[in-house]
Amino acid sequence: MIPFLLRRLLEGIPTLLLVTVLVFSITRILPGDPVRLMLGEETDPEIMREVRKSFGLDRPIPVQYAEWLYGLLLADLGRSLRDNTQVTKLIGDKLPTTIELSLLAIFFGTVIAIPAGVFSALHRGSWWDGGVTALALSGISIPNFFLGILLIYVFSLKLGWVPPSGYEEPWKNLGKNLSLMLLPAITLGSALAGGLTRLTRNSLLEVLSLDYIRTAQAKGLSKRVVIYKHALRNAAIPIVTVMGLQFGGLLGGAVVSEQIFSIPGFGRLVVDAVFNRDFPVLQGLVLVSALCIFVVNLTVDLLYAAIDPRITYS
């Protein structure tokens, strides 16, 4: 397993290098001068030159890139233009909140999607199946900011069951943290739930037509055991793959969910960086989001072996 991990990391290097070039290019090569954007059009050119110099923006682009990359190797993503905080510290402080939100969204999505997908597959072709499919597609199609607003309207403003927005750290008051995270997690998890429901249905249908399922049924095993123990386990590989692929969608969705529910996480930081024109922070966030996806994909690869013992990494 260790050699496999090392090989995957080595294979990832060219792509990761290109990722850093792209992130760097976003703010340097595209039209628009970050300093002008930051200070405004009417700033004294002398001041602009000073600021540019203090951030090293007056040096040739390849030199700037090399310095930036060197900083990356030392886990130094630069400092915020706004309050001079280390970008790594800013992101490190906010990321755990978003990870909690994403995990809750994955939990919520899975708890709904797996039974719904199984149900749909077992009633294939019926109105029930059509209904679940339509609902699942609705989950994918509803913009999460609209769903969030609807949930706030119904559950906070009308019924008063949960507060409309806010955040509490889990180690201070877990109950309050979860009650505040409930609506954001549902908002974020709805698209995942929709996608997973359809996938569970389709991969289960594929597996259910295989011989070993017929054998299991012929042995007289109960339907529950056949579905949940035999069929679902073999249908799990595509499901886990897609859950990994959806992680990027969760990070993107977190931008919106956190904005609506005022949760101080990664997504909120993205929006703040955009509106403060804080490009070092924005750059860092985009880079870290790509790194997160890389790590999740690697984890998914390793999970395969846990799900399917026939897969080994030698």
Binding site: T15, L30, G32, T133, I149, G248, G252, V256, F294
Partner: protein
């Protein structure tokens, strides 16, 4: 013959037909908008601020007394334009990259596909937000940002299809009779890989409409007073407690547009790939 079979299969898919009908309705709204409502989407009326839906204003009015129905109808133009144009641009450029990379192979292919992989390594929305932020808020820049993040998906799909198709006999036959590369690519390969592309176009349009609405909602898209569904929802959010209709109608409109393209994409997938037909 193949085509008509696909059309028949598509039309026998009840959800796909629903999607098609919803899309036609939205297109009609976008095209015939001004004829359908007597109000201008940007005309303010300070005597009718935030009125609930009534016979006079079917969808109510907003915080400046503007007719919400008129704004939703004009918003259809922005959303559909953004969705269709950005996906068209992504299809043309991404498709071209995929065709060339898949057909010629070699180092050219390796470099291009590494670049596409690197672009796909970012979360779609985070990259779109960063691009839109750097480019500056406008409809044009929003479409450009969405097109750029959608492009590698098409490049990947087309390349994969070309790799299998180029070994087929009809391609070798065309080459044997001396057809030029570009003619093989455009006249022979493209029609044969159109199926999966059409499916992806529909699904990507759904995504693009959602992305445009999200960028506008965050204030990075179309700027006021031009009505866009996303920015309408953003403005309406502050009045949710006492003017919920301001949020409801643009939200439902975005949902319907995205839903329609997803349903159509799904129906198309089943129509082009009978193996998945269940």
């Amino acid at each position: 013959m193949m085509r008509s079979k696909a059309v028949r299969r598509f039309l026998s898919h009840p959800l796909a037909v629903v999607g098609l009908l919803v899309l036609l309705l939205l297109l009609m709204m976008a095209l015939l908008g001004p004829v359908m409502v007597p109000y201008s989407p940007e005309k303010t009326d300070f005597d009718a601020l935030q009125r609930p839906p009534s016979q006079k204003h079917l969808f109510g009015t907003d915080e400046l007394g503007r007719d919400v129905l008129a704004r939703v109808i004009f918003g259809a133009r922005i959303s559909l334009t953004a969705g269709l144009v950005s996906v068209f641009v992504a299809l043309v450029f991404g498709g071209a990259i995929g065709l060339v990379a898949g057909y010629y192979g070699g180092n050219f292919d390796r470099v291009l596909m590494r670049l596409m992989d690197a672009m796909l390594a970012f979360p779609f929305l985070v990259l779109a937000i960063a691009l839109a932020a750097v480019l500056g808020p406008s409809l044009q820049n929003t479409m450009l940002a969405i097109a750029v993040v959608t492009l590698p998906i098409f490049a990947r799909i087309v390349r994969g299809q070309v790799l299998t198709e180029k070994t087929r006999e009809y391609v070798q036959a065309a080459r044997a009779v001396g057809a030029k590369d570009w003619s093989i690519l455009i006249r022979h390969l493209v029609p044969n890989i159109a199926g999966p592309l059409i499916v992806q176009t529909s699904l990507s349009t759904a995504n693009a409409i959602l992305a445009e609405a999200t960028l506008s909602f965050l204030g990075l898209g179309v700027q006021p007073p031009t009505p866009s569904w996303g920015s309408m929802l953003n403005a309406a959010r502050g009045y949710l407690a006492y003017a919920p209709w301001m949020s409801l109608f643009p939200g439902v409109a975005i949902f319907l547009a995205v839903f329609a393209f997803n349903l159509i994409g799904d129906g198309l997938r089943d129509a082009f790939d009978p193996r998945l037909n269940r």
